[in-house]
Symmetry: C2
Subunit: 472 residues, 2 copies
Amino acid sequence: MITDAIRMTIPDRGGGRVAMVMETIRQRVAGRALTAGARLPSIRQMARTAGVSPSTVVEAYERLVAEGLIGARPGSGFYVAAQAAPLELARVGPLRDRAIDPLWVSRQSLEAGATALKPGCGWLPPSWLPQEAVRRALRGLARADEAVLADYATPLGLAPLRQLIARRLADKGVEAAPERIVLTESGTQAIDLICRLVLEPGDTVVVDDPCYFNFQALLRAHRVTVVGVAHTPSGPDIAAFAAALAAHRPKLYITNAAIHNPTGATLSAATAHRVLKLAEDFSVTVVEDDIFADFEHRPAPRLAAFDGLERVIQIGSFSKTLSASARCGFIAARGDWVERLVDLKIATTFGGGRLDAALVLRVLTDSVYRKHCETLRTRLARARAEAGTRLKRIGLKPWLEPQAGMFLWCALPQGVDAADVARRALEHEVVLAPGNVFSVSQSATGFLRFNVAQCPEPVFAALDRALREARG
Amino acid sequence: MITDAIRMTIPDRGGGRVAMVMETIRQRVAGRALTAGARLPSIRQMARTAGVSPSTVVEAYERLVAEGLIGARPGSGFYVAAQAAPLELARVGPLRDRAIDPLWVSRQSLEAGATALKPGCGWLPPSWLPQEAVRRALRGLARADEAVLADYATPLGLAPLRQLIARRLADKGVEAAPERIVLTESGTQAIDLICRLVLEPGDTVVVDDPCYFNFQALLRAHRVTVVGVAHTPSGPDIAAFAAALAAHRPKLYITNAAIHNPTGATLSAATAHRVLKLAEDFSVTVVEDDIFADFEHRPAPRLAAFDGLERVIQIGSFSKTLSASARCGFIAARGDWVERLVDLKIATTFGGGRLDAALVLRVLTDSVYRKHCETLRTRLARARAEAGTRLKRIGLKPWLEPQAGMFLWCALPQGVDAADVARRALEHEVVLAPGNVFSVSQSATGFLRFNVAQCPEPVFAALDRALREARG
């Protein structure tokens, strides 16, 4: 075993490879694929599986010993520590040195200074959001009824907002009465509540590979095993999806509606139909995350629309097109789930965002909101085209041309490691989103996700430099 | 086994007793005291323990069979169903008929119509809150910087608010640098995050008996076993607390700071010292919920102050004295916990309430807030005295005269069941808080909690009538 003091002096010779092996073990422990007392793969075996040298595995294991996650028994290998440490989602340390895990992009983006560039982040700049309408809504709220300003929300949440959400869902073919809609404090909280209701530790959940990194971070908090299914331009790879359902018997499949994060892929009707058929065959509940709804030019197929909200639960929020500062999301689900979700919501957050819901309602019903969304879609289409051109010029290749949204999922030149590029860019205050934070299988080392709304001119120069440095 | 159709026709002959037995079993299953496949107590044994007739137990068990929670094996008794149903915190059904469980008061209070009276609820009427300051804050926010209106919060949350909270904590003797304070979306969410970090299913948590009912609802969501320790006017009964720690080896003890909910008891310095000593001896982490801080005339001892935030985590919010519509709470904890709490917060809710935090900061720094709190304390003292007099007149006896706060914990006349009174009062649109929703041991059937700020004249007449009906 090596001490903390010694550990500090070990240079990261293996670069991202040591971190990758550590991350693999951490994930298996977090997902309970390796439980307390379980023996780790041998050095030789792990080296083969991960495609790294045995000395890289030795270093990774020794660091995990120093962290207390595993222990070594002389002559018989490494074991998961008997006394599991409290739930830890990621390696904790100074942010700069933090391992690139599913929380890396969130933390770097949320903590970036005012001068930092954030092409890796997942939201629009404030100037792209309907600020005048938000200011108008705040002035209106200042004159609102006293209960709006002081009281808890009702358990389901503000009725007129739920009615409006029901109408918006109907526009996408999803039939949900307002009584089947539960307001939450965010889209993330909506998924969290569903996980709390459906999952038990040790269960398995299927996600897309790549998928929104926070699905992975959230699922780790639920101590479940996460299985990825390769994504195609029209949705999950159906053969892989079927195989994963048969092999792992997951309880949940979590995916994006319409515009996939990070790839920008759009679900086709044929794939939607097959996904639902398989979900039914294997009794899987599907969570469809529709937070990018207002980015779409024309609505793509919704799983929830095909299914009639029987097996599919839809969630959404207004963070991407209205404001991320006001917190408001929702769940649309089968009637018999609603009561239980409400109980869970009260137990874990009590009331829930009456003021923010009132603000969102005011902005959504402000006459400028529809116009704002139209302008936004056009602006994003232009930004996608421009960023695509600029990125190609410096050697990056978009995986596809998305029909809508803010993301471009780009392949790096052969042999360049995205985590390496991201670390170098961070030195110059540019937060990138390296592919593996999205990938359960850690198979996206050659990709970066770009937010085209966060790509001003200097991003490309900084990126070009980081790329050239990474190529050595 | 009885079918659903038959179940519908069974009259609730046992009244609350059948529900109580069902609830006992549900709690044991939820808390994992009874796990899948485990045999239930025999009919005879359960009847003895619960002090009910065997036929009441039979009916309760049969209903649980119909719900799918347990199964019957002819000749060998009842067993917890192998395939555990999804997490359910409470019996779901039409609210009026809902079993009186830890969520009963929350749901009834939050769903009560505008004309309902809510002496059982846990918050002040809007007119008792600083509305003009809230309106002023909203007008100010309408002119705020664009990032305040549009962007996510930083991971720890608004720095000036954390600085202000650090100063407020220092006033109560709790030393916490702003970097050790994490903003959350509510006090409830603050406790939930701590539970997520510290607890695993099957762990044990100690609470006061009686305690705030939502502690129990929240802990059920974490699938842990809850153990209650009798409360005294100066804090937990130390002998019982020591015995519980020795017998159950809990991970956490969750309690109120200063003003205890529901009893209004105040922690004494001597008890605080003993609690901390025992917590240290048994390696128990303590969560001190300080949401009533601004109700106090002079600060009572804080566990966090004695302990220096080593073993104690303090949480708070502004729902009780500022607004429950804007959601903002906080955690003050040891430095090495903060990073992990932030990761969990991002994973489960992503950003978190920037706009609401900005609003709270504006109100707290508004010159009228201090004056508002002073007025509020005087008004509450007067209301406590008045409500106490009125309650005594109709036969209720306050357990003690609290030094501060909005609650009176009152004993009913001998032989009157609080749940029965609460159900009768609900018929007349009066939401009461019956004692057993606060009691892990279900030993508070003879108590009601009153919120003196929600006791206008008609409450007493309605209560008097319900009491007389309950006495037959």
